[in-house]
């Protein structure tokens, strides 16, 4: 039995269809990240799971029980919000214990649960403060603590790290990962940050225009993107997309006097003369040292040292390529070079449907 099951959920706001049939089944202890840009419907889906919005059709089951029409407090969920949503006039102690207090849990039991959550989140010293006396990171810990004490079947996180600065976001990300590894709870986590999704998730659902574009493990999403959208959305810098034409057993790069060997695994899928998009991750490119691996001739245009890598933008005919090279790579603006990559790193997409071959 799935811990959480979403069955063909649709949501309309007037004539606008925000969710167009979502199906997900989540096993206990899974960490699902709903990833997508603004307006893709990920927060709407989370709100439907929480009971803060009603689905137009479809069903949501927690622990095998349909929860549509059930009040949020009776859904056995806890939610952490982007804005922390702490009660401003209550101390940290009462904020964390609020859900238990509202459920009539005895004071000593409540106190024990609050102390345990505070210990886990290392906020014991803050229990008597008000939210206004806390930093952003501390507030987020309190919000997580408020969810933890309830011990629900499913935790819902709505962009919980978006309001934190970059350094704190990284710390809290690790903290969330640590907590999940320790508690093995079922989590649905909404974010537009693909690094958060990649690092935290056991599975990622990439959403676009109210649909799931791809549902898979972070490795699948990164290495085998199902669509051009997923390929472009996940990864920074984004995957290189070269317009090309199949010519027998080669791929002729449009607008350039260059071609690549067509990997054998694609030969049955694409027809001779078909136009395709060749996707190569910038991390998969390196400066060619021998002629063994497939390579493309390029002219270096911009070189940016980020510290751990040299982000190099190069021209290949009328198209551009980005490569993440080791910092010691000998490349300079205006230089002619050759970028090599492993055949396995090449993905092919249909430019009309956007789907991967």
């Amino acid at each position: 039995m799935s811990a959480l099951e979403i069955r063909n959920v649709r949501k309309n706001y007037g004539s606008v269809e925000t969710l167009k049939g979502i199906d997900i089944a989540l096993q206990s202890g899974e960490f699902l990240v709903l990833l997508g840009s603004s307006g893709c419907g990920k927060s709407t889906l989370l709100n439907i799971i929480a009971g803060l919005a009603e689905a137009t059709s479809g069903d949501v089951l927690i622990g095998g029980r349909s929860i549509l029409g059930v009040h949020p407090k009776n859904r056995d969920i806890a939610m952490v919000f982007q804005s922390y949503a702490l009660y401003p006039n209550l101390t940290v102690r009462r904020n964390i214990g609020f859900g238990l207090e509202m459920r009539g849990v005895a004071a000593d039991e409540r106190e024990k649960a609050v102390a345990e959550a505070a210990r886990l989140l290392q906020i014991e010293a803050l229990l008597d403060r008000k939210p206004s006396q806390l930093s952003g990171g501390q507030r987020q810990r309190v919000a997580i603590g408020r969810a933890l004490v309830r011990k629900p079947q499913v935790f819902l996180f709505d962009e919980p790290l978006s309001n934190l600065d970059a350094k704190l976001r990284l710390e809290m990300r690790t903290e969330l990962k640590r907590l999940h590894q320790m508690l093995q709870t079922t989590v649905v986590y909404v974010t537009h940050d693909q690094i958060e999704a990649m690092t935290l998730a056991s599975r990622i659902a990439v959403m676009r225009d109210g649909r799931i574009e791809q549902l898979g493990t972070p490795e699948e999403i990164y290495n085998e993107p199902a669509t051009l959208y997923v390929a472009g959305f996940v990864g920074a810098p984004s995957m290189n997309m070269l317009q090309a034409t199949v010519q027998g057993t080669t791929l002729a790069i449009d607008g350039a006097k260059a071609s690549l060997p067509l990997p054998a695994r694609f030969r049955d899928a694409v027809q001779d003369g078909a136009r395709v998009v060749a996707g190569i991750r910038p991390e998969a490119l390196r400066v060619a040292a021998d002629a063994a691996a497939p390579s493309v001739p390029v002219e270096i245009e911009v070189v940016e040292l980020t510290g751990p890598e040299l982000v190099t933008t190069a021209r290949i005919g009328t198209q551009r390529l980005t490569a993440c090279l080791p910092p010691a790579s000998r490349v300079a603006k205006g230089q002619a070079a050759s970028f090599a990559f492993s055949e396995d790193a090449l993905r092919l997409f249909d430019p009309d449907t956007g789907k991967a071959f």
């Binding site: 949503a85 009660y87 609020f98 509202m102």
Partner: protein, 294 residues
């Protein structure tokens, strides 16, 4: 630009306003203080210096203590009722329903109407011969015969309080409604997930955001209610048997009906002092509320 010049320029810009304020408020106030130590009549000579006699006579008179009680009752009950009704109305008007915008606009009407118009309307409603209240209550079999609501000492003050509430609750509702817009949606959602019912949601989620603005409404309304004159003057003139006579009515009667300018001035200054004490106490409360909400 030097800070001395900045300060000088600020004072120069304020000067016209200061001159007007001294002329229309400062001077009459000083003149009233002087007048309050004399036995001057409204017309005729300036009167003789009588020291604190006006004050001691006024403070020891049963008229004053009875009027002070009436004023306090009027202010406390009407302001408390306005706060409760205003907040309830705001909570209702904050819900999503068809016709909400029209209802919000209609609600402001009683407050937007001039007090004299309001008071006249309520006199008609309370009219002992053809008033709507008597008609409604007799048709509902709640009373046997028409009553003179404004003519009986037992009901006149209550009738006035109802009319005052009707006029002023929209102001409280308007302030509360504006404050409700500031309640973050996430906190309301969090309280739903946490299992808070309507009462606890109001207490823990909404009230902290309402407290500051409501305190301002409370200050404004209490001060206004304490110095109320117009609605009472139009509806009862302080009667029957002085049962609705408030401090401002007493000041008016002393100074203008009985033409005792000195005595009236001393009473006016006592009212001013009481209102100032209220204002200072409330200002401190507002600061405290704002501080705790931050």
């Amino acid at each position: 630009m030097s800070s001395t010049w900045m300060t000088t320029r600020a004072w120069l810009l304020m000067l016209p306003l200061l001159v007007v304020m001294v002329a229309v408020i400062g001077w009459p106030l000083v003149d009233t203080v002087g007048l309050s130590f004399t036995d001057a009549k409204l017309v005729g000579t300036g009167g003789n210096y009588v020291g604190f006699d006006n004050y001691t006579n006024m403070l020891s008179s049963s008229n004053f203590s009875r009027t002070l009680v009436t004023t306090t009752l009027f202010a406390v009950i009407s302001v408390a009722a306005e706060m409760v009704i205003g907040v309830l109305a705001a909570l209702l008007l904050n819900q999503q329903f068809h016709g909400r915008a029209i209802l919000r606009a209609l609600m402001i009407l009683p407050w937007a109407l001039p007090t004299v118009v309001n008071a006249t309307l309520w006199r008609l409603i309370y009219n002992p011969e053809y008033g709507a209240l008597n008609a409604a209550l007799t048709q509902l079999n709640l009373i046997d015969a028409y009553r003179s609501w404004l003519g009986e000492p037992g009901t006149a003050l209550v009738a006035l309080i109802v009319a005052d509430c009707w006029k002023n609750f929209p102001l409280v509702a308007l302030i509360a409604l504006a404050a409700l817009q500031a309640v973050p949606r996430d906190i309301t959602a969090a309280s739903l997930v946490d299992g808070a019912g309507p009462f606890n949601r109001f207490r823990f989620v909404i009230l902290p955001y309402l407290a500051g603005p409501l305190m301002v409404a409370l200050v404004l309304r209490t001060i206004e209610a304490f110095k109320v004159f117009d609605i009472i003057w139009v509806m009862t003139r302080g009667g029957p048997a002085n049962s609705t006579r408030t401090l401002s009515i007493l000041v008016y009667q002393e100074a203008f009906s009985f033409q005792r300018a000195g005595s009236g001035a001393s009473l006016a200054l006592i009212v001013t002092l009481l209102v100032t004490v209220l204002a200072v106490a409330y200002a401190a409360l507002v600061r405290k509320t704002a501080g705790s909400a931050a």
